[in-house]
C-alpha cells in the first residue's frame, strides 16, 4: 500500500510552474477522481489531484487497521470496473489484479444453500430445495443476462440533456429505444416489471425457495434506504447481472491487497501520464471569478491557493455544491434540488481480523464454501424485518450481512494461517432516532449485534476474533466525506439515475458554474467501483475544450 500512501511532492519544475494555473485540479483522490485525472493527463492536460486523507482511494481503500491485517475498509468487491478503463489506462501493468470470488453460501439453521460457478453443482443444490426453482433459475439467468445486455450500453453513455435539441445527444438513447422495441414481448414486460416492482415481488414470480429469494433480493437493496418489498428495488437486481456478464471479462471479484490497490493502480497510471497527486491536501473551497460565475481554482484547508482552468469535484453532490462553494452563488432552484437529493446512508461495515477460519455449523465440508460470499439472508422476512427497524431509526438487531474472506484467495492481506473477514451490514441508518451523532454511543452495540448474528451460524467466530473495526455511517461521513454515510454518493433509486443523476438537466458532469465540473459517484451512472463516472466526465471535458478550441 506504500504507493497509495506516498505523498508526491511537487517536482522542482512543478514548483516553478506553480504560479501557472493547472489545466485541471481534481478535488478528491477516490477511484473516480483518479480516473478523471488519468484520462485528462493522458490527453496531455496538466492535472493536480488533491486528496484530503493520508491515503488515496476514498471509499476504495485498504488500510492495515490491525497490525498484519489489511482491510478493504469500505468497498470490498470489484463488480463493474469498466473493461475499457482497464485497457485504456493499462491498469494490469500498474498493479491491477482481480482475483476470483466464486459462489454464495447462505447459512441457515440446520441447513444451507450454496451456489457456485459450477453450474451442475448449483443446479443439484437448488434442486435439493425445489426442482422447479432449479429450472426457473436457468431461465431467470438467461432473461436477466438479456436484460443486462440491453441496458448495459447506458453505462458507457453520457446521458442526454432532456432540454437539448441536438440530435447527436440523443443517438445513444434512440438506439436503446430501438433495441427495446425489438425485444421479445416477454422481455419487454420483464423490463417494465424490473422498473416498477420490488425485488421480493419480482423474485416471487420465479422462485419458491426462501433463502434463494432472500439472498438474490439483497442486491436490490444494497446502498439504498429501501426494503426488499419496496417498489423500485427490482431494477437494482439488474446491476448485479451487468457485473456477471462482464464477469467473463474479469471485472468481478476481489482485489489483491484489498480495493485500495485498485486506487493505487489508477493513481500509478495517472502519474505515469504526468498527473500530480497530493494527499493530506483537503480543499476548503472553490475560488470563483469576481462575477462568481466561473471557477478559477481552489483554496486548501491550509490556506494555500491553487489556480486552475478547470476544477473537477469527485466529492458527492452535496459537498460539491453546498460545502465547497460559498452560499448564495448557485441559482436557488438548483440549490433546492441539491438539498433534496437523497443520501440516507443505510449500511455499515464490520471488519474482523481472525486467528482462524469461522466454521459454520452446517456446511458442505472443507473450506471452499467460504471462498465466495457468505450471505446472512435466511428469508425474505428476515430481510424485511431488518428494514422495519431501520425505518424507525434503529440499526437492525438481526441485519442482512454480506461476508467475504479475501485472505482465502489473497494470503497477502493476513499473516499465514490467519484471515480477514469483511462484513457489509444493512441496515445501519445514518438517521438514528436519537440523531446521527448517537452513532458514537451505539457503535459497539452495532458491532456486537453483527458478531452475535453471525455467531448463531458460526459459533466459533467470537473465539477467533483478534481485531475489529466497526465503521458506522457517521464514520463514513466524518472520515471519508460520504454525506449521510451513503456508499454510492446518493441513493441508486430510479428517480436519481441516468438523466436525473444528480440533478435533472445536469447529468452531463457540468454545473451551473462555468469550469466547475463533477466526476464522482453522484453522477451518472452511480456508485460502485466502476470508474465510468470518472472516465465519462474526463471525456466530456476533453470534448468541451476541443469544441471551444482551447
Amino acid at each position: 500500500m506504500d504507493s497509495a500512501r506516498t505523498n508526491t511532492p511537487g517536482s522542482r519544475e512543478g514548483a516553478a510552474r506553480a504560479a501557472e494555473p493547472w489545466d485541471a485540479v481534481i478535488i478528491g483522490g477516490g477511484h473516480n477522481g483518479l480516473t478523471t485525472a488519468a484520462y485528462l493527463a493522458r490527453a496531455g492536460w496538466r492535472v493536480l489531484v488533491l486528496e484530503k486523507r493520508r491515503i488515496l482511494g476514498g471509499a476504495t481503500t485498504s488500510d492495515e487497521i490491525v497490525p498484519g491485517f489489511t482491510f478493504s475498509v469500505l468497498s470490498y468487491v470489484v463488480s463493474l470496473l469498466r473493461p475499457e478503463i482497464i485497457r485504456d489506462l493499462e491498469l494490469a501493468k500498474h498493479g491491477l489484479e482481480i482475483l476470483p470470488l466464486d459462489g454464495t453460501f447462505t447459512p441457515l439453521p440446520g441447513d444451507y444453500l450454496w451456489r457456485t460457478d459450477d453450474h451442475a453443482q448449483t443446479m443439484r443444490e437448488i434442486r435439493r430445495w425445489s426442482a422447479a426453482d432449479a429450472d426457473a433459475y436457468e431461465e431467470y439467468g438467461r432473461l436477466m443476462a438479456d436484460m443486462a445486455r440491453f441496458i448495459k450500453p447506458i453505462l458507457g453513455m453520457v446521458p442526454p440533456d432532456p432540454t437539448s435539441l441536438d440530435p447527436r445527444d440523443w443517438l445513444g438513447v434512440a438506439g436503446l429505444a430501438r433495441d427495446f422495441a425489438r425485444l421479445p414481448e416477454r422481455q419487454q414486460s420483464a423490463f417494465i416489471g424490473l422498473m416498477t416492482m420490488s425485488a421480493a415481488d419480482f423474485l416471487d414470480q420465479w422462485f419458491e425457495t426462501e433463502p434463494l429469494k432472500a439472498t438474490m433480493s439483497a442486491s436490490g437493496i444494497i446502498g439504498t434506504f429501501l426494503g426488499v418489498r419496496s417498489p423500485g428495488t427490482a431494477y437494482v437486481l439488474l446491476h448485479h447481472y451487468m457485473g456477471e456478464i462482464d464477469g467473463a471479462f474479469r471485472a468481478w471479484g476481489l482485489h489483491k491487497g484489498g480495493t485500495g490497490a485498485i486506487s493505487a493502480a489508477i493513481a500509478s497510471a495517472a502519474r505515469a501520464h504526468g498527473a500530480e497527486i497530493r494527499t493530506d491536501a483537503g480543499v476548503g473551497r472553490v475560488t470563483l471569478s469576481p462575477a462568481g460565475d466561473r471557477a478559477t481554482g481552489v483554496v486548501l484547508e491550509s490556506g494555500e491557493e491553487i489556480a486552475a482552468k478547470v476544477v473537477v469535484s469527485s466529492a458527492d453532490v452535496r459537498r460539491t455544491f453546498l460545502q465547497l462553494l460559498e452560499p448564495g452563488i448557485l441559482p436557488a432552484d438548483f440549490e433546492a434540488q441539491v438539498r433534496r437529493f437523497r443520501f440516507r446512508g443505510s449500511s455499515g461495515k464490520v471488519n474482523l481480523a481472525l486467528d482462524a477460519l469461522p466454521t459454520f455449523t452446517t456446511n458442505p465440508g472443507g473450506t471452499e464454501y467460504l471462498r465466495g460470499a457468505v450471505s446472512i439472508s435466511p428469508s425474505l422476512e428476515h430481510m424485511e424485518r431488518a428494514y422495519d427497524e431501520a425505518k424507525y431509526g434503529r440499526f437492525s438487531r438481526r441485519p442482512y450481512v454480506d461476508i467475504v474472506i479475501p485472505s482465502l484467495v489473497d494470503p497477502s492481506v493476513a499473516p499465514p494461517g490467519r484471515h480477514v473477514m469483511s462484513c457489509f451490514v444493512q441496515y445501519a441508518p445514518y438517521h438514528l432516532a436519537e440523531g446521527p451523532g448517537d452513532w458514537d454511543n451505539q457503535r459497539e452495540a452495532f458491532g456486537d449485534a453483527v458478531i452475535d448474528l453471525v455467531s448463531e451460524f458460526a459459533p466459533n467466530l467470537r473465539d477467533v476474533i483478534v481485531g475489529k473495526q466497526v465503521v458506522t455511517p457517521l464514520d463514513m461521513e466524518r472520515d471519508w466525506g460520504l454525506t449521510e454515510g451513503n456508499i454510492f454518493h446518493g441513493e441508486l433509486s430510479l428517480e436519481q439515475l441516468f438523466f436525473s443523476r444528480p440533478i435533472p438537466g445536469w447529468a452531463r458532469y457540468r454545473t451551473p458554474i462555468r469550469d466547475y465540473w463533477m466526476c464522482g459517484s453522484s453522477t451518472h451512472p452511480g456508485g460502485g467501483i466502476m470508474g465510468a463516472n470518472g472516465r465519462l466526465a474526463a471525456l466530456e471535458l476533453i470534448r468541451s475544450r476541443r469544441s471551444r478550441g482551447a
Binding site: R87, L99, P100, R149, F249, K256, V409, P411, G417
Partner: protein, 400 residues
C-alpha cells in the same frame, strides 16, 4: 493403458471431477477444482502443488557425465558445476531441436559426476548413442523418481515450513539436497510457471509421504493442488514454449518445415557456438552465416475490442474460453499468411488475450501489427495481434 503417477493415491481423491488427461502414459489432472482459474490464482498469489512426475528423467553417472551433456546441449556444459541447473534445448545433427528440458548437476558421488536430465520425450537411446567412447552410465529413473512442482509467491514459505530449512539462499536455477519428513529429496529452484517456485525430486516409493508433508505445511499458505489447465495459462503468461504445441520435435517432424532450430523457438540466446562442439553446432553456424532462420517465435497481444466486435457483429455478448487453445491458427500481414499462432489464451492476470506464435523474421519485431484468424459461431474473421516482447509476465520475485 494409462496409469497413475506415484502421487496418484493422493491426487485421485482430490480430482473429484475426474478431469484427467494423458501425459506420457500417466494420468495427469486437468483440474482439481470446478474451475481451474482458482488454481491459476494459487500459482500467482499463494502456492500450488503440481504433479510433474510424467517427465522423463535420466541419471548420467561417471567421470564423463558432463562431457556427455556438453556433447549434446547447445550451452557450454563446462559451467554446469555441482548445484547448478541448465534449461536448454538439444538438437539433432541438422541443428533441429529434439527436445528441451532442465539438466541438473547433482553432487559428485565417489568421485563420479552425477547429472539428472529431464525431458518431455524419451531420450535414453539418444543419450546412450552419443555416449560412445565416454565413461558414463545412463539410467532411466523416470519411474523411480517422482517430481512435484511447488510454485507461487508463497512456495518458499511452504518449502521452509515443510523441511525446516532455509531456502532464501537457493538462487534461480540452483539445486540442493534436502530432507522432507525424513525423506531425502532434491530441490531445484525451477518451474514452468514464470513465478517463484521449486521442483522437488522425490524417491517414488515415498512420494505419498512427501505429498502429505507438503500439504500439511502448506495449509496456512493456501496451498492448492493445480492441474494442467492452470499450468498451461501460467506458462503462456511466462512465455514458455511447449513441445508438440509451439514447435515439433525434429524426431517427429514429417516434413522439413516442421523442424525448428533453437533460433526459431526463442532459445537462440542459449546457444553458445563458441564453446566447443555439440551435436548440431555446424548446422547452426551455417544457419546463422546464411542470415539466420526464416521464422521466429513471437509473443502476441491480441486485440480484445476486435474480438468483442466480432461477437457484436452477430449480436452476441463477448465470450472467450478460459482454457489455452493449442490449435494452430493462421497469422497474416497485408492479407498474406506470414505464420501461425500456436498457443492462444486469456490471461486472468493481465486481462489480455495472449498468443505464442511463429512468424516470418520480417514480421517479428516488437510493435509489428499482424492479423490473426478468429472464429466466432463458425464464422471466420480476423483480429489485430501486436508483436510484444516475451515474457508477457515477468515478476521480479521470480529471480529474487
Amino acid at each position: 493403458m494409462t496409469v497413475g503417477t506415484a502421487f496418484h493415491p493422493r491426487t485421485a481423491p482430490l480430482n473429484a471431477g475426474l478431469q484427467w488427461r494423458e501425459w506420457s502414459g500417466f494420468f495427469a489432472a486437468s483440474a482439481y477444482h470446478a474451475s481451474h482459474v482458482i488454481e491459476v490464482n494459487a500459482i500467482r498469489e499463494a502456492a500450488a502443488l503440481i504433479d510433474v512426475s510424467p517427465l522423463f528423467k535420466y541419471e548420467l553417472r561417471g567421470p564423463d557425465a558432463v562431457r556427455l551433456v556438453d556433447r549434446l546441449i547447445v550451452r557450454d556444459a563446462a559451467k554446469l558445476t555441482p548445484g547448478r541447473v541448465f534449461y536448454t534445448p538439444w538438437c539433432d545433427e541438422h541443428g533441429k531441436v529434439l527436445d528441451d528440458g532442465t539438466i541438473h548437476r547433482l553432487d559428485d558421488e565417489d568421485g563420479a559426476q552425477v547429472v539428472r536430465w529431464t525431458a518431455a520425450d524419451p531420450q535414453v537411446r539418444w543419450l546412450r548413442m552419443n555416449a560412445h567412447g565416454l565413461d558414463v552410465e545412463v539410467r532411466d529413473v523416470s519411474e523411480s523418481v517422482a517430481a512435484v512442482a511447488l510454485q507461487g509467491p508463497l512456495s518458499r514459505d511452504v518449502l521452509e515450513a515443510a523441511t525446516g530449512a532455509p531456502f532464501a539462499d537457493l538462487r534461480f536455477f540452483r539445486r540442493r539436497r534436502a530432507t522432507l519428513a525424513g525423506i531425502p529429496i532434491d530441490v531445484s529452484r525451477t518451474g514452468y510457471t514464470g513465478d517463484v517456485g521449486y521442483e522437488l525430486w522425490i524417491p517414488a516409493d515415498r512420494a505419498v509421504e512427501a505429498w502429505d508433508a507438503l500439504v500439511a505445511a502448506g495449509e496456512p499458505y493456501r496451498l492448492r493442488p493445480a492441474g494442467m489447465l492452470a499450468l498451461d495459462i501460467a506458462r503462456l503468461e511466462a512465455g514458455l514454449i511447449l513441445i508438440e504445441v509451439d514447435y515439433t520435435s525434429a524426431a517427429h517432424s514429417q516434413v522439413p518445415s516442421q523442424s525448428y532450430s533453437p533460433y526459431e523457438i526463442g532459445l537462440g540466446r542459449l546457444v553458445d557456438l563458441g564453446a566447443g562442439d555439440f551435436v548440431g553446432r555446424r548446422a547452426l553456424i551455417a544457419e546463422m552465416t546464411a542470415g539466420g532462420p526464416p521464422r521466429r517465435l513471437v509473443g502476441l497481444d491480441i486485440d480484445w475490442p476486435e474480438i468483442e466486435a466480432l461477437h457484436a457483429a452477430q449480436g452476441l455478448p463477448p465470450s472467450a474460453s478460459s482454457i489455452v487453445s493449442r490449435a494452430a491458427v493462421p497469422v497474416f500481414a497485408d492479407g498474406r499468411q506470414v505464420g501461425r499462432v500456436t498457443s492462444t489464451g486469456w490471461s486472468p492476470l493481465l486481462k489480455k488475450m495472449l498468443g505464442l506464435g511463429s512468424v516470418g523474421a520480417a514480421h517479428a519485431r516488437p510493435g509489428t501489427r499482424l492479423a490473426m484468424e478468429w472464429t466466432v459461431e463458425a464464422r471466420r474473421g480476423t483480429v489485430a495481434a501486436t508483436v510484444v516482447d516475451l515474457p508477457f509476465f515477468d515478476p521480479p520475485r521470480k529471480r529474487a
